[in-house]
């Protein structure tokens, strides 16, 4: 029984050391990758411009009422629409 306990202790200790070293190596490798390939520079939205999950529009943007096309008979000379 004692011999069995000692074998079990040895197995647990060996496994722990191997697992620790494995995780250490993985973390070290991941850190190396992070240094070589930094994330692309993107503009991070401000926390204040929170959005509802699934809704990509910031809450500050508001829809404007659509006007009936036939209703806009006035066509002033000053127009903006890009060039």
């Amino acid at each position: 029984m004692t011999r069995f306990k000692n074998s079990l202790r040895t197995l647990i200790a060996t496994g722990s050391v191997a697992g620790f070293l494995g995780v250490w190596a993985l973390l070290g490798h991941a850190g190396h990758l992070a240094q070589v390939q930094p994330p692309p520079a993107v503009v991070v939205p401000a926390p204040s411009s929170s959005s509802v999950p699934g809704d990509r529009l910031p809450s500050a943007l508001q829809p404007l009422p659509s006007l009936p096309r036939s209703g806009l008979a006035v066509h002033p000379r000053l127009r903006t629409g890009g060039s």
Binding site: A41, V43, P45, A46, S49, S51, R56, L57, P58, A60, L61, Q62, P63, L64, P65, S66, L67, P68, R69, G71, L72, A73, V74, H75, P76, R77, L78, R79, T80, G81, G82, S83
Partner: protein, 313 residues
Amino acid sequence: MKYDEFRAMNSDIVLAAEGRPDGIEAGFKQVRALVAALEARFTRFSDTSELAQLNRASGRWFRASTELFDMIQQAHNLAQITDGLFDPSILDALEKAGYDKSMDEIRAYGVTRSSTPTKPKTFDFQAIQLDPETRSIRLPRGMRLDLGGIAKGWIAERAAVELAEYSQVCAVSAGGDMFMIGWPAGEAAWHVALEDPRDPAETLAMLRLGPGAVATSSITKRRWQQGAREQHHLIDPRRGQSAETEWLSVTAVAPHAAVAEAFAKALLIAGPGQADYIAARQPDLAFIAVDRTGQMWSSNQAKELLDVAVEYA
């Protein structure tokens, strides 16, 4: 209100002014000459323009005119405040996308480069060096600028200030990028039609604006076919290619035309996910975006400053 219309910068130019007819006519004539001179100075389609000389001098210090230095300095500030979404150093990308001659020529004869576009060089416009004392500019080696994203607004404001020498109430529109001075007689505001980007002949809304600037950037007008690929002139400086955006146009209102024009472009590139965040950098800015269904979206500032005049319906 008297009007004068002509074509410059591959765009329709509209001058509007109130006052004595003889004075206004003299003002219109003066402004026509000014616009022609400024276009010749800032165009990228002429080897003799000052902009072309600056581009050829990249890597070296270039002593600029007061006008060019002012425009580049404003562009530099606007590039910083928009996180680089406004960036005039995209000329290489524009040309590789096929926009290597004027839009009037492209519409008439098609693009020169019809093959698959090659990857353009990208630059950090904010790396340019400016020396205000000597009005000198140094572009990093290889960088070339296109001022199409700021020049029309800048020229419209400059021309309006010139026209104001002849009329205290006047406006200048350069392809829809405009600057207004004073208040029209008997009116509470300037009435400006907001075009539907899906059909520019249609009007989506009437804007009632005070003195200042309004500018619109759209991806539906300056488009062309490059091989199998459809391109437009709004380059996303992060990718060096035509921007992929959910909006068709953005109209910006600001105290100065260069600011309105630059932000209209930056916000169109930013799209609905980031536009509000970018616009917040400029407290006196308001904007209206139009999506692919024709739905208009406004910032809070736009709702406060603009009146979409439903009474016109």
